[in-house]
């Protein structure tokens, strides 16, 4: 039976650290480990939009997915595959913590790896950070890379 690891990336240096740590874990687990790279575009179905934005929404969504795949997810998968890891990836819209957990449950993953983001201060104190939300709500073990 293979082991799946979920790694959340966001194109930042923190995401790269999470990816790097996931590779180490996968190496330790061995050849039956599969890495699922997940990039989440923050999105709420309850936000307010203008009619113009709504009319262009599908176009903008496709564009955002395509850019994220091209610039972040595909290079990450390629680097994993070049190093001999079994890897797949996906770009999703929604709440980061909720979606990482959903993918983990769906793929029966062993754990989720994320990095502590650099965002701190007022915003994270008021709204809570993505990492903290994930740790609190996840039904799968979470590793937070510093």
């Amino acid at each position: 039976m293979s082991t799946t690891l979920i790694v959340g990336i966001d194109g930042s240096e923190a995401g790269a650290r999470a990816l790097s740590y996931t590779k180490r874990l996968a190496t330790l687990i061995g050849s039956d480990c599969k890495i699922e790279v997940v990039y989440v575009i923050e999105w709420s179905p309850y936000s307010f939009q203008t009619p113009e934005e709504n009319a262009q929404r599908n176009k903008q969504r496709e564009k955002a997915i395509s850019i994220a795949n091209e610039r972040i997810v595909e290079p990450a998968i390629k680097s994993l595959q070049d190093e001999g890891f079994a890897a797949e990836g996906r770009v999703l819209h929604g709440k980061v913590a909720h979606l990482l957990n959903s993918v983990a449950v769906e793929t029966n993953a062993e754990q989720i790896v994320v990095a502590r983001s650099s965002a701190a201060g007022f915003t994270s104190r008021v709204f809570g950070s993505v990492t903290a939300n994930l740790v609190m709500s996840s039904t799968v073990p979470v590793t937070v890379v510093s």
Binding site: W43, P45, P51, R61
Partner: protein, 515 residues
């Protein structure tokens, strides 16, 4: 092609006449007002012509009959399906794979930001001022019936929208009338669609633009002091220009976030005032019911109350007008009927909840002068409306009502009116643009022409006096309803088919909840 040229010529001629008049006149406001009133009066008279031998405008009957027919034809869908509508808005039936697309909630709130606004603040005050508290009853009834009209038009808006290769969408009555008529083998679809588009363009310039600019100026001058309307007009026009021509999305985004907040604040303040006077709510409803059937001394009696109630409800929630179908058509769904069901919440929120609350606040705070001996309302000197405590009408009356409970509220209301006006303008600039591109084709030149004209009309609206602007705005919005409701009558069997199929699949479990 001929239609295109004619429309362009009409616009150029109109603008030329308008500019020439301004140059000759001594005061800009006076010139705008004079040209405006004389050039639009004939159309206003035609739309509001009374039924022979009565004072009842035929257009009001047209809307009432339309809403009644849809209500009966769909077996009171607005009451039977409202629970499911709420589930749809909550996203319980939304496929998670569609995340990132336009949700039901977003389509609803976008459409609401185009309708909730001055109609709820100024329009209700006008209705109560002229038609008395009884107008509220007819307004609520019109709101409840209008839910069925909205259901039909928004279902069709999604079903017959244009989905382009690049993923963008365009929808609305012009699309469903032309495509739907063709599908059913009916003649005249293209003509009706073009006629709707023409009215929609003028509706966008009127109710969606000039009325808003006019009332925003009235509010600003009531706080700052009297100053020429064209100054407000130019400032508004520049900001609108920056958004719709300059593409400065940040202004639109800020507006879209502030407007819901202002809406909640307005409703919250209203609820607090009602709670403070909870002992009078029963009396206020008594006035509403009694006034609905007797008029309680208002000009025109019961019919006067009814006309005002229906008119202002239609202007506020736009049910049957077709504008919301343009806004709702961008939603991501494979079931057009779901958007129809969501859209029926719009008149409910707009008219049944918000308008009624405004009306109750005006009545409870005792703004309308009544004769203690007879219990009847006292008319003003001209005998056209009920006398008010400080002689105010429109937004000023609502402001006085809220201000009697919270002295600071008129300042908040100024901000709310300005924000609502601006957000409604942005929505209508889009509706008008869709109608314009339907007639003249998609293209940067055609779009720019419309957008520049739209900004010019902001200045006209802020400069003209309220009477001609309200008349013109109403006439154009109702003219849209004339064409749209004809289209809805012919296309409602298509909606019925979708409706039966959807609820059968929902019942059988074929359509499942995702949450």
């Amino acid at each position: 092609m001929r239609l295109k040229n004619t429309m362009y010529s009409m616009m150029v001629l109109f603008m030329g006449l308008f500019q020439a008049s301004i140059a000759k006149a001594e005061g800009i406001d006076a010139a705008v007002n004079a040209v405006f009133a004389s050039s639009t009066g004939w159309f206003v008279s035609l739309i509001f012509a009374p039924l022979p031998g009565t004072s009842f405008p035929w257009i009001v009957l047209w809307l009432v009959v339309g809403a009644t027919v849809f209500t009966l034809y769909f077996g009171f869908v607005q009451f039977r399906a409202i629970g499911h509508s709420i589930d749809l808005v909550k996203g319980e039936y939304s496929d998670p794979k569609d995340a990132g697309e336009v949700s039901h909630f977003q389509a609803l709130t976008t459409a609401l930001s185009g309708t909730v606004g001055l109609g709820n603040i100024a329009g209700v005050a006008v209705a109560i001022g002229i038609g008395g508290p009884g107008a509220t009853f007819w307004m609520i009834l019109a709101g409840l019936m209008g839910m069925a009209s909205k259901f039909v038009e928004c279902t069709l808006g999604v079903k017959y929208r244009n989905e382009y290769k690049d993923g963008s969408v365009s929808g609305g009555p012009m699309y469903y009338i032309s495509k739907g008529f063709e599908e059913r083998g009916l003649p005249g679809g293209k003509f009706l669609a073009a006629l709707f588009a023409v009215f929609c363009i003028f509706g966008a310039f009127g109710g969606g633009n000039m009325f808003q600019a006019n009332q925003a100026h009235a509010q600003l001058s009531s706080v700052i002091g009297d100053y020429p309307g064209w100054i407000t007009g130019i400032i508004f026009a520049v900001i609108v220009f920056l958004v719709i021509v300059g593409g400065i999305k940040s202004i639109a985004r800020v507006t879209e976030k502030i407007v819901p907040f202002m809406g909640v604040l307005y409703v919250g303040a209203g609820v607090v005032i009602l709670l403070m006077n909870i002992d009078q709510i029963g009396w206020a409803f008594g006035q509403i019911f009694e006034g609905a059937f007797t008029g309680l001394g208002v000009a025109g009696g019961m019919v006067g109350a009814l006309i005002q109630g229906f008119k202002r409800a239609a202007f506020s929630n736009e049910a049957g007008v077709g504008s919301a179908a343009i806004a709702h058509s961008a939603v991501k769904t494979n079931e057009p009927i779901t958007e129809g069901l969501v859209s029926l919440l719009e008149p409910f929120i707009d008219t049944v909840v918000i308008c009624t609350m405004t009306a109750l606040v005006i009545i409870i705070t005792g703004q309308l002068v009544s004769d203690p001996a007879t219990g009847l309302y006292v008319l003003n000197e001209a005998g056209t409306a009920i006398a008010t405590q400080d002689g105010s009408s429109g937004v000023a009356l609502t402001s006085a009502a809220f201000g009697s409970a919270f002295t600071w509220f008129p300042y908040i209301l100024v901000l709310a009116v300005v924000m609502f006006a601006f957000s409604t303008m942005l929505s209508w600039s889009y509706y008008g643009l869709k109608a314009w591109t339907y007639l003249f084709g998609e293209g940067k030149k055609a779009e720019m022409t419309f957008k520049v004209l739209f900004c010019l009309f902001v200045i006209v609206g802020a400069s003209a006096s309220l009477g001609p602007v309200i008349d013109f705005s109403d006439a154009m919005i109702f003219a849209m309803a004339v064409v749209n409701i004809i289209g809805l009558y012919f296309l409602m069997p298509i909606v019925k088919k979708e409706y039966i199929s959807y609820f059968a699949r929902l019942k059988s479990g074929e359509i499942k909840k995702f949450k």
